[in-house]
């Protein structure tokens, strides 16, 4: 960072890296250099090959061609273990690979040591002790005895981050580490990363959130079609970077932040999400897109799940079209036009590829089967039609409606999931973290799709990223301690809204502190 220091030591250098999956060329000769004590942002649209690069560097797959130099020595890792031994620590993109179900949080925090070369004898006590040390590195506070399976994606992601930080690596790779974190946790992660950087660690950081990159990156490298197409030094010109990424410039998502006067479509009255939380009201007008932000675990998902009938309110009531609405489960909700896209699309929406119905067509059709095929007999043309329509309407990059979802990149998977719920008339659409792992281009497509489909229905989006909320929503609410707060004023500027949201957060924190006294 300081200009006076001598040229930094090169920690990793990658040249001509190539990798193909069948007909897909994920990497087509990528070159990249990361110096010690530097944070390099790797940018690229969905499917650009970022994760493939990460997987090669971390030893979980091997390259078809190309060389990797680590601290000047040529390496080629046959397994993640070798990469770890050589000092490369990685946080992978997929949160479902962050840890093992059936083991406790403590065991998952120490997983690298268990799987690597930690002490041979373990006991619950020694594991807890070590886990507490690892968790402390990123100020993570999770109950150490909880089973990993009970954790939410964000918590899983934090565990993976803690593990990577704890391994004394010379190269740290983070593949979308903040995709399900809220700004508070992200900020905490950044301060850890800055500390690591100061100690001379080379960091490769991948994210679709330009805000993140602006906050910590020293340099940005743009990957496109498996090749590095541009590189930007600090201060990074993000609009140019995005143009390099997706081949077009993005207009700032502009929509009038007007207060809607359309009739109220759904409302929540005097609701308490959990006993003892502050009751709140919420009105959703027809045609409105409302976003809820808030920190991890503040209850955003819980509100959405309650509206969808998966959980119960501690107190309060819902109305839909003026009539009381109490769902007993997804089937009833879907019948009544209340749709939900749950967070973590693999766990909540997608099927493994060998299953019939794991194709794009089958995925879109799944909730609509009873309506589309009342006699029970499947007609695949009907499904394909809906899928083809969605593919062209949302610009899904796929060979056709029969592609299975595992062949698509994250952004395209998310588009398919959205398409599923746009394939039938809807009253209330609930989206939980719909932009997770979605590149800016695809996000713009998704936002356009969400906003265009809003005629007679309302959309409620839970997102932990304020920036996303601003782009998509007419109105932003903040959730804090299982209660909703209205953001003051209307967003004249981004800074103003974020400021107002944050002030609410601090106020709420104050309330909570008093609460605890």
């Amino acid at each position: 960072m300081s200009t006076s220091s001598p040229p930094k030591k090169i920690a990793v250098s990658v040249t001509g890296l190539e990798k193909s999956f069948g007909p897909t060329r994920a990497l087509a000769g990528a070159d990249l250099v990361v110096e010690a004590g530097e944070i390099v942002a790797l940018m690229g649209a969905n499917g650009a090959g970022k994760s493939t690069l990460v997987k090669i560097l971390s030893g979980s797959i091997s390259a078809d061609a190309g060389t990797i130099l680590l601290n000047g020595k040529q390496v080629s890792f046959a397994s993640p273990a070798e990469a770890q031994a050589a000092g490369v620590a990685t946080v992978h993109q997929a949160t479902d690979q962050a840890g093992a179900a059936g083991l406790t949080v403590a065991e998952n925090l120490t997983l690298n040591e268990l799987c690597g070369t930690g002490s041979f004898f373990v006991s619950p006590r020694s594991t807890r002790k070590r886990a507490a040390q690892i968790a402390a590195l990123i100020d993570l506070d999770l109950p150490l005895d909880r089973d990993f399976i009970d954790l939410r994606p964000a918590e899983r992601q934090l565990i993976a981050i803690a593990r990577a930080v704890a391994s004394k690596a010379s190269v740290l790779i983070l593949d979308e580490p903040t995709s399900s974190l809220s700004s508070t946790e992200a900020e905490r992660l950044f301060s850890v990363l800055r500390r690591l950087k100061a100690s001379g660690i080379a960091i490769l950081y991948i994210s679709h959130r330009t805000g993140d990159l602006a906050a910590i990156a020293d340099r940005a490298v743009v990957l496109r079609g498996g090749k590095v197409v541009a590189s930007f030094a600090k201060p990074i010109d993000f609009s140019a970077a995005v143009a390099a990424m997706i081949g077009r410039t993005l207009d700032a998502a502009l929509h009038d932040g007007m207060v809607s006067s359309a009739p109220i479509l759904a409302s929540v009255k005097r609701a308490r999400l959990i006993p003892g939380s502050r009751p709140f009201d919420l009105d959703l007008r027809s045609g409105e897109v409302v976003a809820i932000t808030g920190t991890l675990g503040s209850g955003k998902s819980r509100l959405l799940r309650a509206l969808f009938g998966l959980e119960q309110l501690a107190e309060g009531s819902f109305t839909l079209d003026g009539k009381p609405w109490l769902s007993n489960g997804p089937a009833r909700s879907i019948d009544n036009g209340v749709f939900m896209v749950a967070e973590d699309r693999w766990a909540s929406s997608l099927l493994p590829p060998e299953i019939p119905g794991a194709s794009i067509a089958g995925t879109i059709a799944l909730p609509h089967l009873p309506r589309w095929f009342p006699l029970g007999l499947l007609r695949e043309t009907r499904e394909r039609l809906a899928a083809s329509d969605a593919i062209s309407r949302l610009g899904i990059k796929a060979r056709g409606p029969d592609d299975t979802l595992d062949q698509l990149s994250g952004g395209n998977q998310q588009k398919v999931v959205l398409a599923r719920w746009q394939a039938a008339p809807c009253r209330l659409l609930l989206l939980d973290e719909p932009f997770q792992g979605v590149d800016v281009g695809a996000r713009a497509d998704l936002i356009a799709a969400i906003r265009n489909s809003q005629s007679g229905s309302a959309t409620l989006i839970a997102t932990s990223d304020t920036e996303e909320a601003l782009e998509v929503a007419d109105r932003i609410l903040v959730m804090r301690d299982h209660s909703l707060y209205e953001a003051d004023g209307h967003h004249e500027s981004l800074a103003a809204v974020i400021g107002s949201v944050e002030s609410i957060e601090t106020r709420a924190a104050g309330i909570q502190d008093k609460h605890h006294d």
Binding site: P23, A45, G376, K397, R399
Partner: protein, 339 residues
């Protein structure tokens, strides 16, 4: 991204390895048929081919039930003992209760469905893991089936535990199910197997219900969030499996004409083997009806041929194992990368 789009527009021709995997079992089956035929011409006459089909019909029917529960993410270990209990129940109904063929059929199928329901309720309502619940039912039935007769086999004129003699007998109409032949050629059990296979195939591959069964097996949460009543489906899978198992038992009963004390363990293992071999058929890597039936036939042909060639009984299991391993290695080993 762009190159992906271009690359993807031309769907790649399936490689040789893929084709080989897909049809490996068919080829093996063909080779076996030809091999046995050349070694023993009597092997290929239609009577013998039908006896092979007849021999595998019960295992295939049970296997279909197993594969339905497997596709819904479960596993029914109780099919063997449901079938065995059905043999006892059918005999009891006719010999002791003096019911006729149709009443017996109805009663036993109901019993099978009921046991399936109990399995399903244990799993879905009480939350017992599938393997555990059906294993318990298996043990329970193995004992329960013997209680009404105090452990005796059921035959016409048998002595009952209370000292009287049973007055009924097997209804001749009942025996037709297992012993009769359509046009004096096709044994009825083969026809029943064909109908069951066809219906089950249709259900699982061509209707939305089948789709949902598979969706539940693939990702229950996803299916639930997509509005499928997953518990009801899983319950139904077990009811179907129980009913099919009791149908298998009925066929056995009508073939053997008495209620015999037998554990049904080998039926279970053979049915499971059939559905597992089915994974490899057409390279589906999942339970499916067609594969299960083919898996059963595969094993049936092998055993029939070996018997014809007078292979000692102890080589038959061995050969069965070797061929299984071979078929599997071929199917799974041909260079498909792990998922």
């Amino acid at each position: 991204m762009t190159d992906q789009a271009t690359a993807s527009s031309s769907k790649p021709a399936s490689t040789f390895a893929e084709t080989a995997r897909k049809y490996a079992l068919f080829v093996l089956l063909g080779l076996m048929l030809v091999g046995f035929w050349s070694a023993q011409p009597a092997f290929i006459n239609s009577a013998n081919l039908f006896s092979i089909l007849q021999a595998v019909s019960v295992v295939a029917i049970l296997g279909v039930g197993v594969s339905i529960t497997m596709s819904a993410g479960g596993f029914d270990l109780s099919v063997g003992s449901v079938a065995a209990s059905s043999v006892m129940a059918a005999s009891y109904a006719m010999v002791v209760l003096q019911l006729n063929a149709f009443e017996t059929l109805g009663l036993v199928l109901l019993m099978g469905a009921f046991i399936g329901l109990v399995n399903g309720l244990l799993i879905v309502r009480v939350g017992v893991p599938d393997l555990l619940a059906t294993l318990s039912t298996m043990f329970l039935l193995a004992g329960l089936q013997l209680i009404p007769t105090g452990g005796r086999s059921i035959t016409a004129g048998m002595m009952l535990p209370n000292g009287t003699t049973a007055a009924g007998a097997y209804d001749p109409a009942f025996l037709i199910l297992g012993r009769g032949r359509l046009f004096d050629t096709v044994p009825y059990p083969v026809i029943v197997m064909g109908i069951v296979a066809l219906l089950a195939w249709f259900l699982m591959e061509r209707t939305r219900w089948g789709r949902v069964f598979y969706a539940i097996g693939g990702n229950e949460t996803a299916a639930h969030l997509a509005g499928a009543p997953t518990k009801a489906y899983r319950l139904w899978a077990y009811v179907l499996s129980g009913t099919l198992a009791s149908l298998g038992g009925l066929i056995v009963a009508s073939r053997v004409g008495r209620g015999d004390v037998s554990a049904g363990n080998s039926l279970l293992l053979d049915a499971v083997a059939a559905s597992l071999i089915g994974f490899a058929v057409l390279d589906k890597r999942r339970p499916h009806v067609l594969g299960t039936v083919l898996g059963a036939i595969f094993v049936g042909v092998l055993l029939n041929g070996l018997t014809m060639l007078n292979a000692p009984y102890y080589t038959q299991d061995f050969v069965k194992g070797v061929v299984l391993v071979g078929a599997l290695a071929l199917t799974f080993g041909l260079g498909k990368k792990k998922r």
